[in-house]
Structure formats: C-alpha cells, structure tokens
Amino acid sequence: MDEIIKYVVDHHWGDVASVLEVIIAVIGFIVTIVSVTRSKKAAQRAEQAVLKIRDEMLKVDTIAEFSAAIASMDEIKRLHRENAWSVLPDRYSALKKVLISIRSVNPDMPDHHKTVFQNAIQHFSNFENQIETVIATNSNPPNVPKLNQIISRQIDRLIEVLVEMKNNFRGESHGK
C-alpha cells in the first residue's frame, strides 16, 4: 500500500487528478451552458410556433366571420323584401357585433379598412334605430330598395376589404 502511495506522490498523480478535475468541470460547465442554450432556443421555437398557430387561427376566424357577415347581409336584404320588420332589429344588432368583433381582433388593419367597417356599422345602427321606431310607432315601413341598395354597397366594399386581407395573409404566410 505504501508503495502505491509513494508511486502516486512521486509521479505527481495528485496534480494530474486536480488538473483533470478542473478540465472535467470546465467541460461539464460548457455542456450545461450548451444544453441550457439549446433548451432556451427550443422553448423560443415552441413559443413562436404557438404564436404562429394562434395567428393562423385568427386569420381563419376572421375570414369565416367575414363570410358569415356577408351571408347575414344577404339574409337581411331578403328579410327586407319580405317586410319581416319584427325580426330585423336583432339581425342588425347581431351583424354589428360580428363587424365590431372582426375589427377588434384585427387592430392593425389599415385605416381605409377600418373606415369601411365604421361606415357599415353606422349604417346598420341607423337601420336598427329606424326599424325600432317603425315597430314602436306602427308607422310606415321604410323604402326597401333604398335599404337594400345601401346594403349591397356595404357588401361590395367589405368584399374588397376581404380580398385585400386574404392577399395580405398569403403574403405574410409566404414571407415567413
């Protein structure tokens, strides 16, 4: 046993062990840093993927809501033709909510798109007020061709906005 200890001391194996210990510690430290960095990058990639999916879902929702709003406007035109005044205030109100919702979830939409939404929302508010008054006072119904002409104009403008939005969405997707 003494011979072994003497051999180790004579050949400075203790120093070698210390140096090796330091080297192993440094390597371990580097490996840890690399692992942490990789984990952080993986977490960032995962977060970006989640944000991208959320963004894509918002776009899909926007397009679906847009289509629903346009379908609802066509339905309102039909109800006008049928003089179904009693059900119309609820339809106007529901449509306004959809338009307000589309605008709210797309706060970065350009001003000219916001203006189209604002104009449509205002027209349907006007309709709602007018028809509520007609129902409450049992007065003469409004001019249906005029109402439907206003709606047709809103549909045309909203379709233009929808097409522009779809093109922008495609551009963003290709750019990513």
Partner: protein
Amino acid sequence: MVNERIVKLIERLHQRTMDGKITWEQTNIEGVFQIAFPEYSLKISKSESSHDYSISIFLQIYNKDGILIEGVHDGQLMPMIPFSTMEELYYNARRTAMGVDKAIDDILSELD
C-alpha cells in the same frame, strides 16, 4: 356653450367638403347624409319647423360602435359658425352623396 373643438371640426369639415376632399353618402333616412372615419362617423341632416318653416341643420358624431356621442345644431354654433356655413356644408354634403357633380359632368360630356 359649444366646445371650441366642435367649431374647429365644422370649419375643417366645411372646407374639406367644399374642396371635394371628402365624400358623404346617403343613409336610409331621406335628407340625412353620413361620412365615416376609421373610428367615428358623422351625420348631417336638416329639419324644417312646422311652426315658422325655419330650417335647422344638425351635425351628429357617433363612436366606433355607432352610438351617438355628440350632437349640435346651427343655433348652438352661432355666432362662431354662421348659418350660411352650416347650410353650405349641408347642401355640399348632399351634392357629394347624391353624385350631383358627376351627373352634371356626364351630361355635359354627352352634350359636347
């Protein structure tokens, strides 16, 4: 007392309408015209008194949900905004909404 900013708004609106920089549009109510901005809209209308046949011009401001937030009429704006300015604003809003200038231009081009 009408807010000074409303006076400024009407002056600018009058100028822009006269210059043809903004286009009003017809609403479901006869004689009422509106214009939209990204988060607000305005409506202008005229009413005639059944008592003395005097005319009043109204301007209303609506928020982004289409709810009325402010309304003024020519009587409240005097003397800062003369009636003639409000009347001119109304009739020019009507002209742009009804497409009168375009109609005249088209007819003139047909006549040439």
